[in-house]
Amino acid sequence: MNKNKEKLLAKRYSSEKRFQFLGKSAIFMALLFLAIFIFKIFSTGYTAFQKTWLIVPVNFDAETMYLDANPSKEDLEDADYFEISLQSMFNLDKNANEKQQNELKKMVSYFFEREIKQELINDPSLLGKTKDVYITASDDLDQVFKGNYPRDLPENQRRVTDYQLKIFDQLVEQGKVESKFNLSFFTYPDSREAELAGIASSFMGSIFSILVCLAIAFPVAVLAAIYLEEFAPKNRFTDFIEVNINNLAAVPSIVFGLLGLGILLAVFQLPRSTPLVGGITLSLMTLPTIIIACRASLKAVPPSIREAALAMGASRMQTTMHHTVPLSMPGTLSGTIIGLAQALGETAPLILIGMVAFVNTIPGSPMDPAASLPVQIYIWAESAERGFVEKVSACIMVLLGFLIVMNLFAQIIRHKFEKKWS
């Protein structure tokens, strides 16, 4: 009997250990996923912040550009740069045949003409001289230089030809290839060419959408929460509102996209693809989140404060506006920021209202067509070019950076300003 008991006890303890181990490994798994995730994004994304440049000698020959010796600013603007640009690329290999010349041209981005033009406009004294100019390399060479491109594939499966690789390797040997910080990633709008694509348009689109969302959702949500928490009589109607809010908070986001499409675009005829419509749609989505957060922080204000104010002869409205609402503000604000962070990461509803359109201008107002950061991630992720993979990861890093900052901010507000009621 006693021996049996010992055996049983040992079994019980090992089952205890097993259970604890399961719990620990569950946590470990969850954290492992997070780690893999972040590692993957960073390891593929960090290279996007560097951009590869070819240093090409350009002969600013006045004759080829149809310019006289002392051109005015306007002349410089209107001059023909195509020929000298092309020529400087061809000069990389003077023995190149026509096909190879074509390949030479494709080693740089189609912006090369503009880059050469900018160089001369910045320094008109270069006219007639030859100078080394930094030219953006094509995205495939960019990837080759960063070591992301499988060079050992057979030539017909690569987008980079053997000839281009040969020239490129020569340039690398001569120190004519350089990697520099990729400023254009932040200042250029979207582009079909990976080496020229930037997040400026989608970034502004996100900012405008969030501002519209904030402007609508915050006041409405706060007022609604105040009403429901402080003034609403307890009856079936307010119960109904409450159930409604809780349900809305769990409705899939894509349904809000259908709402935006079916009502805002089809009925109200608001302009498609704009941050305005995006912001309104997102605001409807975040509304319940903010209302719930605001109500929770109103609820946390102890009734004794209300009673004290009421006993001083303040009206219900005065009590609420002078005491309860200010005291609940930290919780409300941090809830709002978290709601906005959610909205910032939302993709599906924006796709439905057309914010997925290709936009290669930087929007100046909420009424201009734009994409948003998460939608930009989606657009680039669906693109076939290898160069977009690192762009996607970099864009994710920017987006995650924003979300982290917003969440930290919410935390700080909560901890710094929220009073603890005991």
Binding site: N4, K5, L8, L9, R12, Y13
Partner: protein
């Protein structure tokens, strides 16, 4: 078990100190508990009597910041030793709490819980027997025998507490700790529990923490008086109530403070 007219010592606490974080809750407690007797621990709120009770089956382990020092010897074995197995200890020392806390399960499952985890029954029949005898000992059998498979939370407060007692005795513990078992009950239920305690002491050693001095006087043979974390006085209940040595005890007994 009588030896020269003196009861065997079941539990003996030596130099027990308890800390909650930095705050000391018990100061150097020395107390011997006699076998098959009811020992009552009395004292004003917050004096540490419940804390001391929870030391005896190491329930204080549950509280992270709580630290116990000193020796508590049960059956020649110091339970504060590192080698002590809490699970085995608690099998031998049952506990009944202030508020009845039946599990949200059926009556039957409530009682069979302990025997199951400790593997005390080999068959369904044996288990039925254990459940029946436990309920009978707790004087609850007659009231609930027809609804053993209904939830335990459906009973009245007094019945729930007797259910908890039945649950505690189902594993045949040597000692039963009771932490103000009647404070949430009405007088009739209290009387039933008190009767039960008197019955139980034949087979178990009982330590009861109580607020009510009348209850201590009614049910216990020995009494310890705690005040501000110290054991002021202990001895036979008769002596403590009729002729205490310490002036504080006298004041408390006569209702001058507390």
């Amino acid at each position: 078990m009588r030896k020269n007219g003196v009861n065997m010592i079941k539990i003996s606490a030596k130099n027990v100190d308890v800390f909650y974080g930095k705050k000391q809750a018990l100061f150097n407690i020395n107390l011997d508990i006699e076998e098959n007797q009811v020992t009552a621990l009395i004292g004003p709120s917050g004096c540490g009597k419940s804390t001391f009770l929870r030391c005896l089956n190491r329930m204080n382990d549950v509280i992270d910041i709580c630290k116990v020092q000193g020796e508590i010897v049960i059956n020649d074995f110091n339970i504060n030793d590192k080698g002590c197995d809490v699970v085995r200890l608690r099998e031998k020392i049952g506990m009944v709490f202030q508020k009845p806390n039946p599990f949200p399960k059926t009556l039957y499952e409530n009682i069979s819980y302990g025997p199951t985890i400790h593997g005390m029954a080999q068959s369904k029949q044996e288990m039925d027997e254990i459940v029946e005898t436990s309920l009978k000992k707790a004087a609850l059998w007659e009231e609930v025998k027809d609804r053993l498979h209904e939830p335990g939370t459906g009973l009245s407060g007094g019945q729930q507490q007797r259910l908890c007692i039945a649950r505690a005795i189902s594993v045949q513990p040597e000692v039963i700790l009771m932490d103000e078992p009647c404070s949430a009950l009405d007088p009739i239920a209290t009387a039933q529990i008190e009767e039960l305690i008197d019955e139980l002491k034949k087979e178990h050693t009982i330590i009861i923490v109580t607020h009510s001095m009348a209850q201590a006087a009614r049910v216990s043979q020995r009494t310890g008086f705690f005040h501000l974390g110290e054991l002021i006085e202990h001895g036979s209940t008769d002596k403590i109530f009729k002729n205490p040595d310490n002036i504080k005890t006298q004041d408390y007994i006569t209702g001058r403070f507390g």
